[in-house]
C-alpha cells in the first residue's frame, strides 16, 4: 500500500530531514512510527500526503507515484489518504456534524448519504450525543475523536495519524487507540506517529523507529525501548558532563 524507495528530504540545511529511507507498509497493516523530536516523522507524513515533495527517491501509494501526480489531481490522492493532524485542524465555527460532514461533502455525496455516514462514524467514536456541539464545547479527547471521525468518514485506504494521543490521559489515549484499531480491522491501513510509549508497548504492533532522519529499527512487535534507551543514554551523558564540571570547579 505504501512504499518508500530511497527517499530523502533536504530543507536546504546541512543536515537532511530524511536520509535514504526505504520501507514498505502492506495493505491493512497497523504501524507505529516513533522517534525523538526532530527525527523526521512529521516530514515523512507530509511526504505521504504530498504537502512536501521528496528531494530524492520515490513514494508509491496504492501503486501510484505520489510525486508524479499533477497539482490539479492531488485531491484524488488525498481522498485515498485520510489524515488526523497533530493540531486537529477542526473548523471552529462549525458543529461536530458539519466538521465531519465536510469530509463527505468534498466527495459530492448526497445529503442522505452524508447524514448516514456521519452518524455511523459518530457511533464508532461514541460521540452521537455531541452532534450539535461546537469544538470549543468539547474536551481534548472528544476533539481528537472528531478529527478521527472526519478522517475516516470518506472511507480512505490509508489513515495517517500524527500524535493522535498527544496531551491525553492514559485512559483516553487507550480509547483513541481502540478506535484506530477498529478502523484498521475494517481494512484501512493505519500509520500512527506517536511519542506515547504506553500505547506502543501495550499494543505490540509493527513499529518503525526513526532517528536523525533515518529508520533505525523496524520491529514486528515493537516496543518503545529504543527511545527509552536513547533517553537514558542522553540523561546519563548529561550527568557525566555535570559531574565533570563540578570536579573542575572543585
Amino acid at each position: 500500500m505504501i512504499q518508500l524507495i530511497h527517499v530523502s528530504k533536504d530543507y536546504g540545511s546541512a543536515k537532511k530531514a530524511l536520509s535514504d529511507i526505504s520501507v514498505e507498509i502492506s495493505d491493512g497493516e497497523f504501524v507505529f512510527l516513533i522517534g525523538p523530536t526532530g527525527a523526521g516523522k512529521t516530514t515523512l507524513l507530509k511526504l505521504l500526503t504530498r504537502e512536501l515533495l521528496p528531494t530524492e527517491g520515490q513514494i508509491l501509494i496504492d501503486g501510484e507515484d505520489v510525486a508524479a501526480i499533477p497539482e490539479s489531481q492531488l485531491f484524488l490522492l488525498r481522498r485515498k489518504v485520510g489524515m488526523v493532524f497533530q493540531d486537529l485542524k477542526l473548523l471552529m465555527d462549525r458543529t461536530v456534524f458539519e466538521n465531519i460532514a465536510v469530509g463527505m461533502q468534498v466527495l459530492g455525496k448526497s445529503e442522505e448519504e452524508i447524514e448516514k455516514g456521519v452518524m455511523d462514524v459518530l457511533g464508532l467514536v461514541e460521540l452521537t450525543d455531541k452532534v450539535n456541539l461546537f469544538p470549543v464545547q468539547l474536551s481534548q479527547g472528544e476533539k481528537q475523536r472528531i478529527a478521527i471521525a472526519r478522517a475516516i468518514v470518506s472511507g480512505p485506504k490509508v489513515l495517517l495519524a500524527d500524535e493522535p494521543t498527544g496531551n491525553l490521559d492514559p485512559e483516553t489515549s487507550e480509547d483513541i487507540l481502540e478506535i484506530l484499531k477498529e478502523v484498521n480491522q475494517m481494512g484501512t491501513t493505519v500509520l500512527i506517529v506517536t511519542h506515547n510509549s504506553l500505547i506502543v508497548d501495550a499494543h505490540k504492533k509493527r513499529t518503525l523507529t526513526m532517528k536523525a532522519g533515518e529508520i533505525v529499527s523496524d520491529e514486528v512487535k515493537g516496543k518503545y525501548h529504543f527511545i527509552k534507551r536513547a533517553h537514558h543514554d542522553k540523561k546519563h551523558e548529561e550527568h557525566k558532563e555535570e559531574r565533570k564540571d563540578h570536579e573542575k570547579e572543585d
Binding site: 485531491f75 484524488l76 481522498r79 473548523l91 461533502q105 466527495l107
Partner: protein, 299 residues
Amino acid sequence: MKKKTNSLWTHIRRSPYQSIAAVLTMFITFLLAGIFLLTTSVSFAILQYFESKPQLTVFFLEKAGKPEADALTSALVGTGKIASTKFVSKEEALAIYKEQNKNDPLLLEMVTADILPASLEVTAKDPHFLSELEPVIKQADGVEEVVFQKDVVDSLLSWTNAIRNVGGVLAILLAIDSLLIIMTVIGMKIALKKEEIDILKLIGASPWYIRMPFIIEGGLYGLTGSFAAWVVIMAIVVVFRANIVSFLGAIPVIQTVLGNMLSTTSLLVSAGFLVSMILFGFLLGAVGSLVSLGRYIKF
C-alpha cells in the same frame, strides 16, 4: 443545497460592508451602462426613422402650389435619378399639423392652411444623386427652401456615435472598477477563509469544490447589483413614459414598446433587457472572483 445556500448566506453576512460595497459598485455600473444602452438604442431608432423618410423636401413660396410642383416633378423625372415624389398641399400640411398636435389645442388656434407651405417630398434612386438634383430644384420656380434629411441624419448620427462612444468608454471603465472591487472583496474573503481552504485541500476537496462558493458569491453580487439597476431604470422609464411617447411617439419602435407597457412586445423587451443585465452582472462578478481565486489560491 439548503446547507450550501445557508453557508453562502453566512459568508456574505459575516462581512456585510464588503458585500454592500460590491453590490453598490455593480449597481452603479449597470445603472449607467443600462441608461447609455437605452439612450443609444433610442438614438438608433430615431436615426432609422429619419433614414426611412423622404430624402429631400422642397418647400414652395406662399403663392406657389400644385403647378410649380408638377413642373418641378417633370424636371426631376427627366434626370432619371428619381425613385418617387409626393406633393403635400397646404391643406394636407394643415391636416398633418393638426394630427401631430391634436392633444395641444393652444397650438391649433390661429393656424390656417395659408400659413403652411405646400411641399414636394422627393426620394432619389440613390442618396448620392441628391447633390446633383439640388441645382435643378433651386432653379425651379416658386421654390423657397430645400431641406435635406441627410443633414438631419448626419447630425443625429454624430450625436448617436458620441453617446455610444462616451457611454461605451464609461461602461468599460465602470466594469473594470467593478471587477477590481469584486477581486478585492473576494480576495479578502479568501484570506479570511485561508485556514478552512487549506483544510479542505488536505481532506481531498477538488479545486472546483473550493472555487465554486467564491464564484457564486461574486456572481451573486453582480446579479443583485444589475437587478437593482434594472428596477431603477424601469422605474425611470415608467415615470417619463408619457413625455417620451409624446416627444418621440411618431417613431414606430418607441410607440410599440412604450405605447402600452403591458403589451406582449413591451413585456418581452423588458424581460430581455432584464435577462441580459443579470446575465452580464453574474458573469462580471464570477469572472472577478475567478481572477481573484487564481491569484490567491494555488492548486
